[in-house]
Symmetry: D2
Subunit: 418 residues, 4 copies
């Protein structure tokens, strides 16, 4: 997503606004058609000096002013005057932000889709792969890798849907003029806004949102949730890839010091991106409290933050998809780790079986005693259960029927939503 949020991409989006504005003004006969054509033809970012706009932006307080200066300088003077009719800097920048976001969301959502698809494949193909469930970073009870992947899938699907829905509901044209009331275009204002919205393929909002910043904030919230959903997967992958666990292998980054080492680079990068979103989300939320008709600083704080949020969540999706698509799963090691964990992980299962005969309290006591005194669950339970019951209670596979059903539910939900 880096290209879609580059300075050049922002500049092109600002120029797209000016082009659409001039075209709309010509349609409404506010400016000559030839002027609009000339403006539209000049609105090509590759002809501009992006770096200079950046340098001058600080002095004028925003990048729209030097952009306009360069644009006007590229036009005959009688046309230059027709640029930016009825608009203010904020209209240009806010609309550009929305265009940048929509353009960035195309690859971002595609990568999220790829990540989800890879999760779904893992969930489906490992429905029967037993592994240790781990809670609070401790070995807990058996589960399946399919269900673990189904949980990853559910998170990515949920967060991706938030992004997509938010995009639908929040992306919109901003066009309000100096104080948001479209005063200077008179009767032509609302028609011009409608034409621009159509031209730029952006929804026309009920009212300009120059000082009502919910739209970009809520969008970044959803990006943060998506980066976090992928960060959760990456964290699990990194933990499973630990040498002592070795249940998955991921990536192949080399080390500058250690020739033998295989670093799980995609997982690291996803985690690094995910770790930056909370701070960016907080900064966006702080910008909600905007003074009057344009915030005195809070609005300016949004620009890079918004770009960073798109870029980093986009990177999380791209690396997340690559991580999941390249994930090597080792079912045998999963089985081995489960076995090595010992019968303690079946303690809950045996307790349940014993409780049917002895009541929960005595069953729990018996199991705790068996586990702590070293007598062992099997021996302790053999006094109470039939051999068949005993085998069932001690079998990790007894978790599979429900785990499979849950995997199927997750896959069905995934199938529905895509």
């Amino acid at each position: 997503v880096a290209a879609e949020v580059s300075d050049r991409a922002w500049l092109q989006a600002m120029l797209d606004f000016e082009s659409a504005l001039a075209t709309a003004c010509a349609r409404l006969e506010l400016i000559p058609a030839e002027a609009a054509s000339a403006i539209a033809a000049a609105c090509r970012a590759e002809d501009f000096d992006v770096a200079q706009i950046g340098r001058e932006a600080a002095h004028s307080g925003n990048p729209a002013i030097p952009m306009l200066a360069q644009l006007r300088a590229r036009l005959p003077s009688e046309v230059a005057g027709e640029v930016h009719r009825g608009a203010t800097s904020q209209d240009v920048i806010d609309t550009a932000a929305m265009l940048v976001a929509r353009r960035a969301l195309t690859p971002l959502l595609a990568d999220a889709t790829a990540a989800a698809r890879a999760c779904a494949t893992l969930a489906a193909s490992h429905r029967d792969t037993l592994m240790l469930g781990r809670t609070l970073l401790q070995q807990a009870v058996p589960t399946s890798f399919g269900l673990k992947a189904a949980g990853w899938l559910a998170g990515i699907v949920r967060a991706r849907r938030e992004v997509a829905l938010t995009c639908e509901r929040q992306i919109a044209l901003q066009f309000g003029g100096a104080a948001g009331n479209l005063a200077s275009l008179g009767e032509a204002a609302l028609p011009a806004a409608a034409l621009m919205a159509a031209d730029l393929d952006l929804p026309l909002p009920a009212v300009p949102w120059h000082a009502e910043r919910t739209r970009p904030v809520v969008l970044v919230d959803a990006l943060g949730a998506l980066a976090g959903a992928l960060g959760k997967v990456a964290g699990d992958v990194a933990l499973l890839a630990q040498g002592e666990v070795a249940e998955v292998r991921s990536g192949g980054g080399s080390s500058s010091a250690m020739p033998h080492k295989r670093n799980p680079v995609p997982a690291l990068l996803v985690r690094a991106c995910a770790q930056r979103l909370p701070g960016l989300v907080a900064t966006m939320h702080a910008s909600l409290v905007a003074e009057h008709e344009r915030a005195a600083g809070g609005w300016h704080a949004e620009w890079e933050t918004f770009s960073d949020a798109l870029r980093l969540s986009g990177s999380a999706c791209a690396w997340g998809a690559r991580m999941l698509e390249g994930l090597e799963v080792d079912p045998e090691r999963m089985g081995l780790n489960l076995e090595l964990a010992g019968e303690g992980v079946m303690g809950e299962s045996v307790t349940v079986a014993l409780a049917a005969r002895l009541g929960v309290a005595r069953a729990r006591e018996l199991v705790e005693a068996a586990l702590s005194c070293g007598r062992g669950l099997r021996a302790a339970a053999a006094d109470v259960l039939t051999p068949e019951e005993l085998e069932a209670a001690l079998s990790p596979a007894s978790c599979l029927p429900n785990a499979r059903a849950l995997v199927d539910r997750a896959l069905a939900e995934y199938g529905d939503g895509w």
Copy 2:
């Protein structure tokens, strides 16, 4: 919302989970019907020692464990064993969080509705009230107070809708057992989950979300947006209530030192709440990266943060409604401030009028010269414009037609969504 998120409210929600679980187990004949009845009857928070549960929660790592101890102690021993069948602490606490949230959202959304209604009333009744638009904390161009209130309305409506939609999509039962695969209830697990969901009136999710934290995170995001939308209004109110501006009056807090002072207490409190949400939102996002089947610390970090987010955004809504309902608007002072601002605020308008004759470049030059040399806009423009054009260009009321149209659009959108 303080009562809805109190320790007692959390405890009752946890007990509601246990009651629903026992009832479901009895319906599925996993436990005797009388045991379920006894459990359900014992699940009354007022009979428990809330403070003790709080103290013991630290030592066991979560409040479910001491809650269960107290609950079991209130039951005959043969019934005590039937409590909490197939569940784990996280099921209790996560489901309780959802119940707490839903119960807190009732007053919260009602207060947000009241705040929106007050905004709509202000927007409608001040459609024709001219005032200064202010950008970057500077006087800019005329606008109407009706449109300002319509902008507030749009923000509250948008954010409130996010909360309501999020609530619909994200609130759900959590029931997964020790590692989220419902292993220990066997075939009865999914039916039990369905019964509990129905009993607690919570949607049944496709899969347990113990380690997929998007749900509470996205909910807090929306609460943050709502608090911010109200914070924006409160900030504007506090600025408009400054002695030198005096366009509104709000609240009537007294001062411990100054007998004459009237502090805009509701606005202050809304801003204070709004200022805390960004940090809470960031903390929630950080919890997304949860290890394996239960996060080792990140989950625990959510509890108070989630409560604080509900309480503070709830407080922002309650005080926001009170602030807006009690707002005294002074249209005369708005008019006076507009007049005192001088003809400079009509500079854009006059430029537009002149540009129709002279082109934009010369019009802009003429206006800038007139404003800087002291000759004045009226005199400068009189050489070019007809008297009627001149009056129109110098009249702040020329912004009203578009402002009114935008107010109507905001009110229509508000009307649609409620």
Copy 3:
């Protein structure tokens, strides 16, 4: 630290301010000595209704106003008027915050000291305990547990020192009156401030800091660093306590579902606390931008945030000390894991040895080939190195001399600073 930041503790600190103020006023003959005695005698938090003050605080905008009302109600009317002379609510609350902080820092720093001491003991007693160093969550090269503990120690020592230095530099009396210029006490103002500072044992700042919020912000920054330093240790402990790693054991929290499980509760709680500080730190920083002579909301947002930061970092220190003091280290398992990691972890070491003969490039090639083709490092290196060189290069213990030297440096630094 919970008790030191309770509502009652805040109330007592506010009352201590009022008592010191009355005493100073009496010393300067602004009020009768008997009035001051009566006020001082009435300033006992246990006689007040804390909950009522909390409820009324919202309506007046701060808790000082209802506190003053209760205090005055407890005094004869002629004495009641002498309370709070020349002060404003902010003086009471800010000074109370400083008293609360200083009282909370006593146990907090003691717990941090205990945690550091436990680290130092671990570092010293495990100077020769070899274990795997792990980078990017992958097995890397051998190191010692002593050095790992020395790194923990360095972090805790550094952060604790920040807290202590910050406390020295930032904790101070706040006394400025209505707008921070001490106007209403006339010539007695600065002498009164000096007397109060002495009485409360707080430094007298050059100027009141009512609208200059660096002091509490910087203090919370340091608390965040300390919680984070302990969070780092807790994270390592939780990772080392994983069943597959098993190099340490910590805590003994039970599980509501799994009888066999031993949850590392202290480590979890430390991590949970550490995870909340970043958001609190961000909220405090946002309060720096305070409007004029008292912030309109930002100040109010500090109160609970400041308390939470003290409470949670205090809890991180308390649980961190307990975690470290109770840590069971398993040097044998560390050795076993190192052995099981295979000769790959010696790859860097062998490369260095080979490079002395072959140059770095060829040495690296040879090692990579040996590790990837399965021939093995020993066989490949045996062609080049003498048997003694080979053993040294393949021996994990070759890292110990430098590791020991670093441990000693850390212990010396620790010794210096305490």
Copy 4:
């Protein structure tokens, strides 16, 4: 500070590390002197392809690896092997971060000094300039602009000192090798570290801090405090520059829509920078919890965050100095606003005067009645006070003696510390 934190600046800092390492190795006869010279000569950032390093950094997980590849490619093969002896990527990047910080802090601290100096000048020259004190955004009581500027000064001085002290205490060499124990350089390791520290003019820490991230975190905390201290000033400037207040004028940014408007651009930019620091500070704090010997993602999340923090706080200082140096203060308008505020702002003062005769309770009643019934303070107080007492009580200038004393204290503190 943008140049000091550019990609090129980071690259040069990384190359400085390699150069110092090669030089140290040659001094210790680990590598030939000619090799060291060749390496040192090749370590010039202007010869490298910065953009390519950026692109490749993602794939290898960090920028040190492609930097090393380019550096080695520029050297004869026998020299190439001598590059980076005993070091790991983190050594390069962490030490580079410290060099970048120190280089950026030179202009940053100079700008902060300039800002403080400008505040001191304002404080000294406006010791007698009366103005309204404003609390909670409401007119409160008279104060002086000198004292207001002294408060700004105290904040900048305090925060700047934090940055300078932090810089002294926290900036240090990082050199630890693969897992932080300097294993691969054997006996030469600590001497090499000492030589590098001397060469780069960086303190040698007791132990490597690769996984103990307090240093960069605490540094960013201080930068956040400084940006916030300037943000507070900028906020006050923007509020005082409001058209209705007009007590200061600042900047002269033009508007793309409004020819008459003079935007306080420096103040806006300072506020925008200040608003981004809290989120960056939070992200840094989150990185404290680093896994084992190198964080799996958290470390990577620091790099841009650290640069952004330096750049934005540097920008806040630069624009803050410009804002303060160019600030036009209007003492007459301050006086006028004070007069227009009415006698209510003298209410506290009159209450104090009356209380000496009537007791506080009756004095307060009398003043409140006078202010609310319209009789006026003067008339009401004239019954009780002598004419001289009355004039004194109603004179805003009565606040000046204490205000002047406080200004002097602030200037003295400023003088001491610089």
